[in-house]
């Protein structure tokens, strides 16, 4: 029986992009179904009744939710190609640690960065930059966080780079200036088809942010 893989998706979600990249890396055929997050579909509510959020991976009718849980699931099911997590338990624990760090320091602050102003925004920017700098330390001289090939941490982090242009415009700073190694790593990742296919155009994201700001009444 052929695998049926459906992704409940939203084009600007960095969390959903993680899943797209993982599916592309493994060469898995899937159907992406763009969701309306304001008027949620019965399928979304049925497949993720607890959080009612995307991404949701539906594999042969069975749903998995939470982006990092989904990426690990994909890695385990399609374990015969392009491994994302290392096989050594200690190295796996370190990859999970840094993915968790990315969620806590980069993604959470990213969400706030474009919404805040003044001193609150400065504080968020500082934490965001400090987070990227810590990740630069972890990357070191490696090509990717996963070593010679992209891995779990690369998949966890690279999607937010599609939002960098928006953060820079809203926060009035240059991420390349503050964290050149991260920007160089992003460029390397973007040369991979699995990544470039899965990330939207940063200008499109910026247009979307401007629309959201208008809707939310933020300057």
């Amino acid at each position: 029986m052929e695998d049926k893989v459906i992704l409940l998706d939203f084009w600007s979600s960095s969390y959903a992009m993680r899943v797209r990249i993982a599916l592309e890396e493994k060469g898995i055929q899937y159907e992406a179904r763009e969701q309306n997050l304001v008027d949620k579909s019965p399928l979304l509510v049925d497949m993720n009744p607890i959080h009612k959020m995307i991404p949701v991976l539906i594999h042969n009718g069975k749903p998995t939710c939470e982006s990092l849980v989904i990426v690990e699931y994909i890695d385990q099911v399609w374990n015969d190609r392009s491994p994302l997590l290392p096989s050594d338990p200690y190295q796996r624990s370190q990859a999970r640690f840094w993915a968790d760090y990315i969620d806590k320091k980069i993604y959470t602050n990213g969400k706030k960065l474009w919404r805040e102003k003044g001193e609150k925004q400065e504080e968020v920017k500082r934490e965001f930059i400090a987070g990227l700098r810590a990740l630069e330390g972890e990357l070191g001289e490696k090509v990717y966080f996963g070593g010679e090939r992209i891995g779990f941490v690369d998949v966890a982090l690279v999607p937010i780079s599609s939002w960098f242009y928006s953060f820079e415009k809203c926060g009035n700073f240059s991420i390349e200036k503050e964290c050149p190694k991260i920007v160089a790593w992003v460029k390397r990742c973007m040369q991979k088809k699995s990544v470039s296919k899965s990330l939207p155009d940063p200008q499109k994201i910026y247009g979307y942010v401007l629309q959201l700001k208008q809707k939310l009444g933020i300057d």
Partner: protein, 220 residues
């Protein structure tokens, strides 16, 4: 020294620390327990978890693993021949990880609001806390454990909060057992296991700790 191979930097009332204690006990792993003074963190803690400077930190042959869920998964993978905590089926593993994430997102944060706030904020936290526990009761169903017939990952992740229920009930002025009797039954069943018995502190002690904490933080 055999047990210096595994060291746990911990703090006795921490539910996150308890998770790691339980996992180590389930696997029968001998380890050295080091109590940290969180007001005066040791050089070892700062060295082993420079990023977050928090407990628990599991140190195995000198190599640190921080974040309780990550440490429990590490223990399960590094000592995979005994008492498996996560299922081997990828879909069931993903379900277990989803529910562990749910516990982290809801139970801890809401529990904290119950003892740290008052009035409307506290009432809202109590309501959401009970709703979250009821969702977990639904997930448990008629099974003896979240892991099915045997104690597993989600059981390890949730049961430490049982030692805090008495404190939540006193400060929140409500009965968790009245709202979620099945969950309390499950918690009592878990508490009969030696790994859990050994790892959870006395709930009155936890209540005393929260009283002192509130005083120190200037919360009434």
């Amino acid at each position: 020294m055999a047990n210096a191979e595994v060291v746990l930097l911990d703090f006795w009332p921490s539910p996150f620390g308890m998770r790691v204690r339980i996992a180590l006990a389930e696997k029968g792993i001998k380890y050295e327990y080091k109590e940290e003074d969180l007001q005066n963190k040791s050089a070892l803690l700062l060295q082993m978890n420079p990023v977050h400077k928090k407990i628990p930190v599991l140190i195995h042959n000198g190599k640190p693993v921080a974040e309780s869920l990550i440490a429990v998964q590490y223990i399960d993978e590094a000592w995979k021949d005994k008492a498996p905590l996560l299922p081997s089926d990828p879909y069931l593993r993903a379900q277990a990880k989803f529910w562990a994430d749910f516990v982290d997102k809801k139970i801890y944060a809401l529990g904290r609001k119950i003892w740290a706030t008052k009035g409307e904020e506290q009432e809202a936290a109590k309501k959401e806390f009970i709703e979250s526990l009821k969702l977990m009761e639904g997930k448990l169903g008629e099974k003896p454990y979240f892991g099915g017939e045997s104690f597993g990952y989600v059981d390890v992740v949730l049961v430490p909060f049982y030692s805090w229920f008495y404190a939540y009930e006193v400060f929140g002025n409500f009965s968790i057992e009245a709202e979620c009797p099945k969950l309390i039954q499950w918690a009592k069943r878990c508490s009969e296991k030696e790994s859990v018995l050994k790892s959870l502190p006395d709930h009155k002690k936890v209540h005393g700790f929260v009283l002192e904490l509130k005083k120190r933080l200037g919360i009434e």
